[in-house]
């Protein structure tokens, strides 16, 4: 059975799509069959981050409405053959999805893939509820900042009450905390919440901490998920996330301000 993982946050702009793309590609690079679904109907972004925006013919809504088959709509990633993307519709709105048909699509995809990654829209309305409804696991993407933490808290409450698992009284959705745009320097200066602060407030297991990095913006603009940038700290941090998702225990990195070496101090590096 495929693992259905929703990447969600409540608040917008915290890195849901960036994380979905990195995690999807990372899992595929490990040899798993992965499909990435963009649930942000009307604000299609995932295809841009994945660099396949020019290859979108049919979309998720077409499949839901029976206007296209799954095979027609799925876009195979050019870098890794075991990864596919199901793009959102840019011209429709979030009411275009309904529970029954989404369930059907997920069921069909479940037969073909090991992982189904659902990139949720921001907010707590119908679109976000649809993305999390069928999830087995949830990656709660949070910035170390009070409003983001509070919105994540709200979403965690929704996962526990509005999901299919909650409605049927099954084992609850497995929650993972993914802290993005983390800056140890600003934490040290007291400008940002620390990992411990966020963990204390949300009290769900930590999956990863992605440092604030120039590499992320560069990767997004290039349509190359940041996990491919193995030189960057953000890319490495996502790689750790993949290993943890696959059951390994890995120490957290990039949590403290790196001490500058003697050379960089001398040459102002």
């Amino acid at each position: 059975m495929a693992r259905i993982i929703v990447v969600t946050s409540g608040k917008g702009g915290v890195g849901k799509t960036t994380s979905s793309a990195a995690i999807g590609l990372g899992l595929a690079l490990k040899g798993h069959k992965v499909v990435l679904i963009d649930f942000d109907i009307g604000l299609r972004n995932l295809d841009l981050i994945m660099g396949c925006e020019r290859r979108v013919v049919y979309d998720f809504v077409n499949v839901i409405n029976g206007e296209a088959t799954l095979n027609q709509a799925l876009i195979k990633d050019k870098r890794v053959s075991s990864l596919s993307i199901l793009p959102a519709s840019q011209t429709r709105d979030k009411d275009a999805l309904n529970k029954e048909n989404v369930g059907k699509v997920l069921e069909d995809l479940g037969k073909l893939y090991d992982f189904i990654i659902c990139d949720s829209p921001a907010g707590i309305e119908a679109g976000a509820m649809m993305a999390l409804y069928y999830a087995d696991e949830a990656i709660i993407t949070t910035n170390p900042e009070v409003s983001s933490v509070r919105d994540s808290d709200r979403i965690i409450g929704m996962l526990a009450s509005r999901s299919r698992r909650a409605e049927l009284g099954l084992e609850p959705i497995k929650e993972h905390l993914l802290l993005t745009r983390y800056s140890p320097k600003r934490v040290a200066e007291g400008e940002m919440l620390s990992v411990e602060d966020v963990e204390d407030i949300l009290s769900i297991p930590l999956l990863g901490v992605i440092p604030e990095s120039q590499a992320v913006l560069k990767a997004s603009n290039a349509g190359e998920p940041v996990i491919l940038d193995t030189e960057s700290d953000a890319g490495q941090a996502y790689q750790d996330v993949i290993d943890r998702l696959l059951g390994e225990t890995i120490d957290f990195r990039f949590l403290v301000v790196e001490k500058k070496g003697i050379f960089s101090r001398m040459f102002g590096g």
């Binding site: 509070r150 808290d153 709200r154 409450g157 009450s161 204390d200 407030i201 009290s203």
Partner: protein, 239 residues
């Protein structure tokens, strides 16, 4: 939801009761005339209930009502310890039967039961109880969630997030951090208390008296219980 535009509530009033010892209209008229003549202004439009306690079955209800109104009283209804059949008869004549307060508590009927479609809420105030049972909530209460322990204490095994709300008619115990709002003694219970492992609340309230975060500085982030002393909230360290 729009506010209800009408509402039924029970209230107690002091009404004049005219005790009849005779059912003969002419006799009543003669006596009433004398009384009213003594203070016509005092009796003008006074609401009046007629007690037929001491009368036999043969009563001209319509006649009595007409007579009462002749003297410019406002007729309310009949009262008295009488048989069920008699009450039925009174109703059939189109008049209300009014229980006295004493009969009211014993039989738990409401003053105006006959004349209203929906039963008004019981007049008796909810008694303050010292002992409540517990409602136990396991796990964190997240932002946007609300948990209400009606007629109970609320025990939360976990934290209450900022933006969450816990309400109890009794006490509130939070075995974790209290970061949201806690409202104890919600339906009026001045002995209710709030206990928490770590006080970082947005608001705490007991029996309508509340504190915002700024009032909690003394014991901020400490294990604390909060109670009401002379209508003032006070906090004390738990350990």
């Amino acid at each position: 939801m729009a506010a209800a535009r009408i509402e039924f509530k029970g209230s107690s009033f002091t009404l004049s009761v005219l005790h009849l010892k005779t059912a003969t209209i002419a006799d009543i008229r003669a006596d009433l005339a004398k009384k009213v003549a003594q203070a016509p202004d005092f009796f003008y439009l006074v609401p009046i209930v007629v007690s037929i306690d001491k009368l036999n079955d043969d009563i001209d209800y319509q006649g009595i009502k007409t007579l009462i109104e002749e003297f410019n009283f406002t007729f309310v209804g009949f009262t008295g310890a009488i048989s069920k059949e008699q009450r039925q008869l009174i109703r059939e004549c189109g008049f209300s039967f009014v229980n006295t307060a004493k009969a009211n508590t014993v039989k738990k009927t409401v003053l105006v039961e006959e004349s209203v479609a929906e039963k008004p809420k019981a007049v008796i105030a909810t008694p303050q109880r010292d002992l409540y049972t517990d409602k136990i909530h396991r796990g964190q209460i997240r932002s946007g969630q609300q948990v209400y322990a009606k007629d109970q204490n609320l025990v939360v095994i976990g934290s209450v997030s900022a933006g969450a709300e816990v309400i109890a008619d009794g006490n509130i115990h939070v075995y974790g951090s209290l970061r949201g709002r806690a409202i104890a003694g919600a339906t009026g219970h001045h002995k209710a208390q709030i206990y928490c492992q770590k006080l970082e609340a947005e608001l705490v309230s007991i029996n309508g008296n509340y504190w915002l975060s700024e009032s909690m500085e003394e014991h901020w982030a400490s294990p604390v219980y909060i109670q009401l002393t002379d209508n003032e909230l006070t906090s004390s360290k738990l350990i």
